[in-house]
Amino acid sequence: MKQFLFKKRENRPSFLDSVANTCLAIAMAIIVSIIFILSLGENPISVFEFIIRGAFRNTSSVLEILAKSTPIIIIGLGVSIAAATGMTNLGGDGQFYMGAISAAIIGIYLEAPVWIVWIAAICVSILAGGIWGGFAGFLRATIDTSEVIIAIMMNYIALFLIGFLVSNPLQAPGGIPQTRAIPQIVQLPKLIAGSRAHWGIVFVALLALFVWFVMNRTVFGFQLLTIGKSAKAAQYGGIAVKKLSVTSMFIAGGFAGFAGMIEVFGTYYRVLEGISSSFGFTAVMIAILARYRPLGIIVGSLLISTLTVGVNSMQIAVNVPTSIVTVIQSVVVFSILVMPKIRANFQHAQRKRLPPDEREES
């Protein structure tokens, strides 16, 4: 039966093309990091060996990778939903903070059965992150400001708000700028006792499946994608362009807020300054690299987390700073974003010259 006609892949650059681009990017990243390592007077092969060994040295390091990738995957999934309508959610960090602090407040002060606390914390964190993201989307839809700039500004507002809250009204006794811990009973159980990985990662897998389903199977996902393809056509098609654009940013923010709740309830049990180590930006990067596909976002986040965990343990053995992760990440992003354009330009130059208006279209 030929029923499944909505072949999404047909609408995107061919599979081989994206594989080629990704391989090219990774190759470039390896070359640049080899140069970087050589310039520090170390042996690149042994450094890479330390990174890989460090990442997979034992069960706990593997679980550490899972724990590290959890918030990035959740925020990345949200980014992919905003991207469907053509919005870029660079406000992941601010939304994450808002979700984290509101979830922490519920966790600390709400005295109720565990599952009620959980549900309340999830709802409140989604709402807080969603409002933070939705506001940027709302301004874009109504007065056409850049949602990117607004979201980045909102990041700072959230950052300083949290800084104020954890060092003043919500500060735990002891002088460290952090909130009190949530009661042990409401903390998310660990996958394996003693590790950092918690049951949140299972949520994440389900969430990714859900996002895939919504974007590929449902009317709602189709409407979002249509707006991203052409807002003009979507409006003609009777799709509520403004409302859904704002909604997509609200969902993206809600996801980031939820990630904040998961981190508070699963990993830190409290909010402290610097709880997000630019998860938001990393998530955007990974989502772009994954071309907004949920599976790609999971794989990409796991890769980056592996790298981070490996580098952290490598640093102990070799004199190479952890900033090598940033170098590798940046080169990968740079090549993924730039390479296809360069290749396209190259192919274009070989084609016959077109009149200017057609050139713009192609």
Binding site: Q3, L5, T218, F222, T226, A233, G238, A240
Partner: protein
């Protein structure tokens, strides 16, 4: 009379093809020194293409251009400017946030190794503007200038770089009467100073007023070249609209005659503002009955887009009311207007009517995405049902699609239009608004679409057909009107007025003048 030996520009045998169709077909054009030549023609006649070739924006497929008798090759606007050709585009190429001075300086600073001597340029601009009677306030931000003055900035910009041939593409389209008078007096000054001017227009009065010679283009060919003082409006109108296609589709007997008086669409005195926030549509009314096709003829850009967008709920109506089947639809959302039975074939079939990177099924669905018909549990899309509808439309509308997964953007223009038409008609509309449904299509596709429109009429729907193809309007309409400057003429039967009378209406004359 000017000495014909002083030919400054000669374009010979210029041809330009887009998608295998000629936009310019063996065009010859001569321009003498100190002469104003008007290029007259309807939309799509090839005027702008020809001038874009002259200005280096396009390259001709055949033919040659010579200046002062020497063959030149113009590969970019920079080449054109170096050869003394200046162009003022229909849509201004100014940077709105810069002031007038900066906009002009911008176009010349490149020649000075990146260093700008503001004093010198300022002096030059002043000299030019006094010489040609152009009034420019140099320090005003361009977006705050009235349109007429923006145009003067454009002209002044074009005059720099030793301009000898000035091309003006529909310069009066955006101007009011006073600005137009001012422009014409400037043009006469320029002409007296020895400049040659090519003036693109479709407005007969202006052409007669300003030009020395009129070159008439139709369907990519030069039809005629006449000295202005030896011609008149009727003559020009007739030559401009012409008539050479005999349509094979004829109106058959209608099941619904107008005696039934069921008004399916009623537009009452609406006012719709255009993009520049000028009043584009003024006090427009029309009525369409069941089974009636109402045609609106006119040159593009006279308010047609604004009208259909207002009808489809995509543009705000500031005054007046619109009724569909007796229910008011003024300023309702495009979704509810669609659901109330107004189908719409938009003019831009590739970027609005369809989504190029969607399949056929998806292109049918994006216009029906709220319909319960294609919705399963959990908000899922019923792809099976959609596929069946797609199959049916492919068969009924003879859509040539190699395989079902193919993206619609890869189809030919005719097939894309069939997809849109199939989708819109299959929604069983009360009224179909179709804008340029056959533009750029081959004869076979045109005939097919006309047949479908007539079939829809016999099922009792009303159709509002907007087209720049006069032949199409005349052969299909029960009632027609001409739109010009946002105003609709009184409705008339296609056989009521002669071709030249209609041409006059299209050229902006009022109806008394046509009698």
């Amino acid at each position: 009379m000017l000495n014909p030996a002083n030919t400054i520009l000669e374009m010979k045998g210029i041809s330009k093809f887009f998608d295998g169709k000629p936009a310019n077909d063996q065009i010859d054009l001569k321009v003498n020194e100190g002469e104003i030549v008007a290029l007259l023609g309807e939309n799509g006649a090839g005027k702008s293409t020809l001038m874009n070739i002259l200005f280096g924006l396009y390259q001709a497929d055949h033919g040659e251009i010579s200046i002062d008798g020497k063959v030149v090759s113009i590969n970019s606007p920079l080449d054109a400017i170096a050869l003394g050709i200046g162009m003022v585009h229909q849509h201004f190429m100014l940077i709105p946030a810069f002031d007038a001075y900066e906009n002009i300086a911008l176009s010349i600073s490149g020649k000075r190794n990146g260093l700008v001597n503001h004093q010198v340029i300022r002096e030059q601009i002043k000299k030019h503007s006094i010489q040609y009677n152009l009034s420019i306030v140099l320090d005003t931000i361009v977006q705050d200038l009235p349109v007429g003055l923006q145009q003067q900035v454009e002209i002044l910009k074009a005059l720099f770089g030793e301009c000898r041939i000035l091309v003006l593409d529909e310069p009066t389209g955006v101007l009011n009467e006073q600005e137009k008078i001012k422009l014409f007096s400037s043009l006469k000054e320029l002409k007296a100073a020895g400049l040659s001017i090519i003036f693109i227009s479709h407005k007969l009065d202006e052409v007669l007023d300003i030009s020395d010679r009129v070159v008439i283009l139709r369907k990519g060919k030069v039809v005629d070249s006449v000295t202005t003082n030896r011609t008149n409006k009727e003559d020009l109108a007739c030559r401009m609209v012409g008539r050479d296609v005999v349509f094979s589709v004829k109106k058959g007997p209608r099941l619904f005659d107008n005696k039934m008086k069921d008004r399916v669409l009623e537009i009452k005195n609406i006012e719709v503002h255009g993009k520049r926030n000028t009043q584009t549509i003024k006090d427009l009314s029309l009525t369409i009955h069941r089974g009636e096709l109402f045609g609106i003829a006119g040159v593009d850009g006279n308010g047609q887009s604004e009208l259909v967008e207002a009808l489809a709920g995509l543009r705000h109506v500031t005054k007046g009311k619109i009724f569909l089947n007796g229910n008011e639809i003024t300023n309702r959302s495009s979704r509810s207007i669609k659901q109330m039975g107004l189908a719409f074939v938009p003019e831009d079939r590739r970027s609005m009517g369809t989504i190029a990177s969607y399949s056929l099924d998806q292109n049918i669905f994006f216009r029906n995405s709220d319909s319960k018909t294609f919705r399963k549990h959990f908000g899922q899309i019923d792809k099976k049902k959609l596929h069946m509808l797609g199959d049916r439309l492919i068969k009924d509308y003879d859509i040539r699609i190699p395989h079902r997964d193919m993206l619609v953007g890869q189809l030919s223009g005719g097939n894309i239009q069939k997809v849109i038409l199939a989708r819109e008609i299959s929604s069983d509309p009360v009224v179909l608004v179709a804008m340029h449904p056959t533009r750029g299509l081959d004869v076979g596709a045109i005939e097919f679409i006309h047949t479908r429109l007539l079939e829809l009429l016999s099922s009792g729907a009303g159709i509002l057909l907007i087209s720049t193809e006069l032949d199409e309007i005349i052969s299909l309409s029960d009632q027609m009107a001409v739109i010009s400057n946002g105003k609709l003429s009184r409705p008339f039967r296609p056989d009521e007025l002669s071709l030249s009378q209609i041409g006059l209406l299209m050229g902006g004359s009022d109806e008394e003048a046509c009698r």
